[in-house]
């Protein structure tokens, strides 16, 4: 039963990779990475729980955190072309279209 669940998540992850490669905009790619990450979190939780080693859930927590942070970083790079500026500038500079 759970093996079917893992296989299904694997299919969903594969579809996300297709979206990552096809684009077309940068935001589609970031979205694909973010969603891929969430599915990985679920998969690790599922696996760790099912194999009977709850230590694995620690790794799932780290995944959720890192996934969020790297999504923010990617989005900032695509939008502001900078890592160091505060996000407040996100709503200030609307005029520059994305490359």
């Amino acid at each position: 039963m759970l093996a079917a669940g893992v296989a299904g998540l694997l299919i969903a992850m594969g579809l996300m990779v297709v979206r990552l490669l096809r684009g077309p905009t940068a935001y589609d790619r970031v979205l694909a990475v973010n969603s891929f990450g969430t599915k990985t979190v679920l998969m690790i939780a599922l696996m760790g729980f099912a194999v009977g080693r709850p230590d694995f859930l620690d790794v799932a927590i780290v995944y959720a955190l890192i996934n969020f942070i790297s999504t923010i970083a990617l989005m900032k790079v695509f939008r502001l072309r900078s890592l160091g500026e505060p996000l407040a500038r996100l709503s200030m500079s609307r005029e520059t279209p994305d490359a």
């Binding site: 694909a32 790297s70 970083a73 500026e85 500038r89």
Partner: protein, 358 residues
């Protein structure tokens, strides 16, 4: 209760499937024509890699790969990609064929060694039979920590880990020498505080405000929990650095530098390695060998303490103390080095933009 992967062989099949996905990602990487796509693929590669490591019974490595590969490496790559062109020019065929043939030859050479390699998952293979098995058998008696990986990393091979921590410090020093650690004087970020407060994205800043303390707390949990479950100083350090990176991403690197000045970060990186090494010297002063944690506590004092968990009638408080001590040193060194590296890259971009525009 339903059990996933009930047969041990299903585990191996699943591992092979994930490895296929990894190889496919490498293939896509080979064909990618844009640096940012490469970085995204690398991030997904790291996530899948960590998942694969979980299946291969290596949660500690998966922990590290998730936080380092998908987190910090992606961040640094993005920082560097910002200061260069995005398009990857295509290779001239004349320059492609010789390396391609060389790589093919390398692949064939490695494939020829296949018959000498142990069968996948063979419990009696030479790598798993001698040293690894000895560590597994002796850890409860010698160290008293359930996590064998931490025991080997921090105690049996503590000297080796000291070397690795020094390498990380050295790499951090190298980056600082090349890039300079602080913000350059002509920074386009305005100092107007009112703008920052009024126009910020409230959703993200609230989420960041909620998350950053939790992440820091979690880093210390990972540090302290390293003996009992997946985790340890390296992972905790990277998680702590991730919290600072999140702060810098949302509130600006200038704000983070105000909260945690560059000088403090640099000193902490050196202090971490110093703390690690000084625990070794304390052991010498107490009459043991370098990094011999059993010598940390005097036998008289330790006899008064209750016997520790999984110990089998043996006292292990010296090992406990030593491992926690050096893991704290590793965490301090790794967290500050990673933060210093991020500072260097994030503070750098604006200057190269000016150089590119000129």
């Amino acid at each position: 209760m339903t059990r996933l992967l009930a047969a041990p062989e299903a585990e191996l099949v699943f591992a092979a499937l994930l490895l296929t996905l990894l190889a496919g990602l490498v293939l896509a990487l080979l064909a990618a024509r844009s640096v940012l796509t490469c970085i995204l693929l690398m991030s997904v590669f790291s996530l899948t890699m960590a998942l694969w490591l979980m299946v291969m019974d290596a949660p500690d490595v998966a922990f590290t790969e998730a936080s380092v590969g998908a987190g910090v490496s992606t961040m640094i790559l993005l920082g560097a990609a910002l200061s260069s062109t995005d398009v990857i020019p295509s290779v001239r065929p004349g320059r492609f064929w010789f390396p391609a043939v060389a790589c093919l030859a390398a692949f064939i050479g490695m494939a020829l060694a296949l018959s000498d390699l142990p069968v996948f998952g063979d419990p009696g293979s030479p790598p798993s039979s001698y040293v690894g098995r000895l560590y597994l058998e002796h850890t409860p008696h010698d160290i008293g920590a359930p996590n064998v990986v931490t025991a080997v990393l921090a105690s049996y091979r503590g000297f080796d880990t000291l070397g690795e921590t020094s390498v990380i410090l050295a790499a951090g020093v190298g980056v600082l020498l090349l890039l300079g650690g602080s913000l350059n004087s002509r920074d386009p970020v305005s100092e107007d505080v009112s703008l920052r407060i009024s126009a910020g994205s409230p959703v993200l800043s609230v989420a960041a405000r909620l998350l950053i303390p939790i992440i820091c707390l979690y880093a210390f949990y990972v540090l302290a929990h390293g003996e009992f479950g997946a985790g340890g100083g390296f992972q905790a350090g990277v998680i702590l650095a991730a919290a600072l990176i999140l702060h810098a991403l949302v509130f600006g690197v200038r704000e983070t530098m105000r909260a945690l000045p560059v000088g403090v970060v640099r000193s902490c990186a050196a202090l971490g390695v110093l703390g690690y090494a000084s625990i070794g010297f304390i052991a010498i002063l107490h009459g043991g060998r370098f990094l011999d944690y059993d010598a940390l506590l005097s036998p008289v004092f330790e006899a008064g303490l209750p016997s520790s968990h999984l110990a089998g009638g043996h006292h292990h408080w010296g090992q406990r103390l030593g491992i926690l001590g050096i893991e704290t040193g590793v965490m301090l060194a790794v967290a500050s080095t990673m933060t210093a590296i991020f500072y260097a890259f994030a503070g750098r971009v604006s200057r190269s933009d000016e150089a590119g525009a000129a």
